[in-house]
């Protein structure tokens, strides 16, 4: 994809993270997306989240499929290892990479076309295998790169810039993921970095497949009157009742959190997701209640955002397969080959 190298102008003093890196060290190349594209805000939130978590850039693998959203890995963490794959096929490729080397942090960026049409089967099976990765759907209801066709997430009645209103029911990634038994489900809005950054950090800490559906308006093809994925529509219909903080494992930061009766979820690595405010009766561990709540809000024409569901008790892909804690790709050959004597002896059974 076309990209422009970003000038590294030192703006001192920039704050440094635990690794001594500034936020600039987590940036990528200049975006070539349209000015005002929601995706660029998501990119900015990703940069922020990784910087705040002090993740070593070279221990990040960033993957994508094809589409506007899938261009964005070029725009963040230039020191990360990147893989821009084929349309809809990012999940299998990420699954193979994770199978081979579980030591990295994996983040996949996809769009509604990539995830909900051509790649829906793969997405579902990625969820089913609970592959440990962050999976972001930059959801704008439209195919941007091919100039404005409606996608599978477009709402009934949603209008493309040209042509007739959509008559097909949308595929909602959040309720689909709930139905499939996903272990981390969030929805956010690209225009709300304050909400998105803690969700991203929690997703990175999650021990399994972390799905984040980010409504990310397409300013060129789907930000007009009649679109349900526009900035205006989102600002009018977003409900942010489920608010969360992410508290990293570091003790000194934990100490600053005032103790109250907020719901806390301890993540696999010891970090904590703290539900700052949730509606009465809402339990982010209870799949049925979450589903009921979302449906109720939906019926009122509202779009619920926040970290909606977490299950930190489920096993992820490697735990299910009892693989070593280090990368399979690093296992020495001597541990893999049974050797000549064994080959000779096993052949006694072939006679």
């Amino acid at each position: 994809m076309p990209s422009i190298t970003k000038p590294l102008i030192p703006l001192s003093p920039l704050p440094k993270n635990e690794l001594g890196l500034t936020i600039r060290d987590y940036e990528g190349q200049m975006s070539t997306l349209c000015a005002g594209c929601g995706h660029d805000s998501v990119t900015a939130a990703i940069v922020h989240a990784f910087w705040e978590l002090s993740t070593p850039p070279h221990m990040i693998a960033k993957l994508s499929g094809i589409g506007c959203s899938s261009k964005t890995p070029t725009y963040f963490v230039r020191g990360a290892h990147g893989f821009n794959s084929a349309h809809g096929r990012m999940v299998p490729i990420a699954t193979g990479a994770i199978a081979a080397n579980r030591e990295l942090t994996y983040i996949g960026i996809s769009g509604d076309g990539d995830s909900l049409s051509i790649g829906l089967g793969h997405l579902m099976h990625g969820i089913r295998r609970n592959v440990k990765m962050v999976y972001i759907i930059e959801n704008n209801g439209v195919y941007g790169l091919t100039k404005g066709q409606m996608s599978a997430s477009a709402d009934i009645g949603s209008r493309p810039k040209k042509g007739t209103a959509n008559v097909l029911a949308p595929i909602d990634p959040v309720s689909t993921a709930l139905g499939l038994g996903a272990t981390f489900i969030a929805r956010s809005f690209s225009g709300d970095k304050e909400q998105l950054v803690p969700i991203l950090k929690a997703a990175i800490a999650h021990n399994g497949f972390a799905l984040i559906d980010v409504i990310s308006p397409c300013v060129t093809f789907n930000d007009h009157e009649g679109s349900t994925k526009s900035y205006k529509f989102m600002r009018d219909h977003e409900v942010k009742e489920v608010e969360t903080d992410f508290v990293p494992i570091r003790a000194e930061i934990r100490a600053k959190i005032p103790a109250d009766d907020a719901t806390e979820v301890t993540m696999h690595d010891g970090s904590v997701v703290r539900f700052r405010s949730v509606p009465a009766g809402y339990d982010p561990h209870d799949r049925m209640k979450v589903e009921e709540y979302i449906r109720d809000r939906e019926s009122r024409g509202e779009i619920v955002t926040g970290l909606l569901y977490v299950d930190e008790s489920a096993k992820e892909l490697h735990e299910m397969n009892a693989t070593p804690t280090h990368a399979l790709a690093k296992v020495a050959y001597t541990a893999l080959c049974p050797g000549a004597a064994e080959l000779a002896s096993m052949q006694n059974d072939f006679r």
């Binding site: 096929r89 193979g96 049974p338």
Partner: protein, 614 residues
């Protein structure tokens, strides 16, 4: 006995073939392979070909055993003995017996007089009746009928009955009830034949020492063993006939050889198991190859096994692997196409598809094993080639190789083997470099060094299936784009000397040359011996790898008549040779067998003679 006098009753020792006609799902396969295994243990060259339907129960299935002291064990078309156990196919099965041959049928019921032939001998054995009297459970009565006819065959062709009893004892070592009923059934059939029929028939076996240290193995198991020994740790796959057993075997082998026990330091916590492998049954073949690419990118040896329909689905990502230069091993156990085709029948019709898989200009490395022995060897080489050339490597087996048991030399392993990971830069290498660029290569083999995810930031790059330049950057600039794809072409060409060399065998005064591939090997060699006996010596070349080395072109050019024997309709190997070597396609005459059954020498001899006579 008057009829015997007019029949062809020459004595044949260790030279005959048997066709066993059964209904699938009745347990006949184990009885049939028991016979084959017993003959193998008697030291006699033998083959068994399972010709089975794409079905679980109720359709016709055949098993052919060919015994040949000279080692000609390709499929024979003239059957000395037919065991007709399937009334649905009686007419055809009886018609298939050679003049002077024999039929065993179940005489519990009378045989339709219309099926009678006066040039063959019918041997009636009341199998169903015997089993009804001797076994109680309905399922057992059906299963034991198979062992009973096997017992009769043992007596009729002189197989060592004690050896067969030993095999049954080994097979059912852990199940006393089954062991006893199998032994009883064997004796029922054996004793009936000895008491009521003339044993042995004019064709029979005598022990030999021909098998030495050879083994009996199918190609799918051998391929899985190759993957195990090559150090493959990640596999993605989707079930498909006839390739499923590759992964079934790999799973079993990994469970046996790749599991470590991690001793718990806490006496209250039990020890755990650690698996040095991860095999994923994917949602489809697209995902299978995707997983292989992800793992290959990350530095694990990874593979998938599939058949033609799976390769069709994988095409898109195979192009991605080719263009982004990711190692991958794909084992294609070919079956009869196009489309679903005949899933349980063999063919060599994926040659072209694999050589050029995916859209755009693509070319791949393809290996063509002829038997399970080469499946093992080539599987290991496939991983070395994939990593050395950073590209997908196909191994094209087929249903005949993959699913039938073959007598092949013992497999050997050299403990000094070092896996070839190809050029991979580690952090120390990167530290010595001023800058790293993914796709610029100054090597003789046109391979550019890669880094693995997790290596230092300096080695980080962005894999992209979109246009890229030699530095790995996105490009839409014609010369920059061309520079990369031109190098890929040279890289592919450079691999020709590294793929398994063709097997070339020359005969004195040979005027004709015969080129073949894969599982045609034995039938073609037998045909060439027959042609030589008939005064037509021919040179032999078996292609074992693509891209082709210069000898392939030279072989075609140095023969006045060249034949290319292969199992597909469109003469794909012939076309590939013409396209890739530039030799005139008219120089090669196609000999094609593509009905779905393994090739036999007779088909080759007939085609060659027919062409030469014209």
């Amino acid at each position: 006995m008057a009829i015997d006098e007019v029949l062809d009753q020459r004595t044949q020792v260790n030279d005959f073939s048997i066709k066993l006609a059964n209904v699938n799902g009745t347990g006949s396969a184990s009885a049939n392979s028991l016979l084959m295994q017993a003959i193998f243990r008697m030291g006699i060259p033998v083959s068994g070909k399972n010709l089975f339907p794409s079905n679980i129960q109720g359709l016709p299935t055949w098993y052919e055993i060919r015994v040949n002291k000279s080692g000609y064990t390709a499929r024979a078309l003239d059957y000395d003995l037919v065991v007709a156990m399937n009334s649905q196919t009686y007419a055809q099965d009886i018609a298939d017996v050679r003049h002077g041959g024999y039929v065993i049928y179940d005489s519990s019921w009378p045989l339709d007089p219309d099926l009678s032939r006066d040039d063959i001998t019918f041997l009636g054995i009341p199998l169903a009746k015997m089993c009804l009297e001797n076994f109680k459970a309905p399922r057992e009565r059906i299963l034991m009928k198979n062992i009973a006819y096997a017992g009769a065959v043992v007596a009729l062709v002189g197989i060592d009955v004690d050896l067969v009893a030993d095999l049954l004892a080994e097979t059912f070592a852990r199940n006393e009830a089954l062991r006893d009923s199998n032994q009883r059934a064997l004796r029922l059939g054996y004793d009936y034949a000895v008491e009521n029929l003339t044993c042995p028939l004019p064709f029979y076996v005598e022990p030999m020492e021909a098998n030495g240290t050879s083994i009996l193995i199918n190609g799918n198991l051998a391929a899985a063993l190759g993957c195990l020994y090559a150090g493959a740790t990640v596999a993605g796959w989707y079930p498909i006939t006839p390739a499923t057993a590759v992964m079934d075997n790999f799973i079993q082998l990994c469970a046996r050889y790749r599991r470590e026990t991690v001793v718990s330091e806490d006496p209250n916590v039990p020890d755990t198991t650690r698996n040095n492998y991860l095999i994923i049954q994917a949602e489809d073949e697209i995902a299978s190859i995707g997983m292989v690419l992800g793992a290959g990118w990350s530095g694990a040896r990874a593979f998938t096994s599939t058949s033609g329909p799976g390769i069709s689905l994988m095409n898109e990502l195979l192009g991605l692997a080719y263009y982004t230069e990711i190692p991958a091993v794909i084992i294609d156990v070919q079956r009869t196409g196009p489309s679903t085709g005949m899933p349980t029948r063999t063919q060599q019709a994926d040659i072209m598809m694999c050589a050029y898989a995916s859209h755009g200009d693509t070319k791949h490395i393809v290996l063509f094993p002829a038997n399970p022995y080469e499946c093992f060897e080539f599987a290991v080489q496939a991983f070395d080639l994939a990593e050395r050339f950073q590209t997908p490597v196909f191994m094209l087996s087929d249903l005949d190789i993959g699913m039938n048991d073959w007598v092949v030399p013992e497999l050997h392993w050299n403990d000094d083997y070092v896996w070839d990971r190809g050029p991979v830069l580690n952090d120390e290498d990167l530290a010595r470099m001023s800058e790293f660029f993914r796709y610029n290569s100054a090597n003789d083999d046109f391979v550019a060094a890669r880094t693995l995810p997790g290596s230092d930031e300096k080695g980080a790059y962005f894999i992209r299936g979109s246009g890229h330049d030699q530095f790995g950057r996105y490009t839409e600039n014609p010369p920059e784009y061309q520079e990369v794809v031109d190098r890929l072409k040279k890289k592919h060409a450079a691999s020709a000397e590294q793929v398994p060399a063709p097997v070339i065998e020359r005969r004195d005064d040979a005027a004709i040359g015969v080129i073949t591939i894969g599982s045609c090997d034995l039938a073609v060699r037998e045909a060439l011996d027959q042609l030589a006996d008939a005064g037509l010596p021919a040179d032999f070349l078996r292609v074992r790898g693509f891209p082709f080395v210069a000898q392939v072109r030279a072989f075609v050019e140095e023969h006045e008549h060249c034949f290319v024997v292969e199992q597909n309709r469109d003469a794909q190997l012939r076309s590939l040779i013409a396209i890739e070597t530039g030799v005139a396609i008219e120089k090669m005459y196609p000999v094609l067998a593509y009905g779905g059954f393994p090739l036999s020498a007779q088909q080759v001899v007939d085609s060659v003679l027919a062409k030469l006579e014209n």
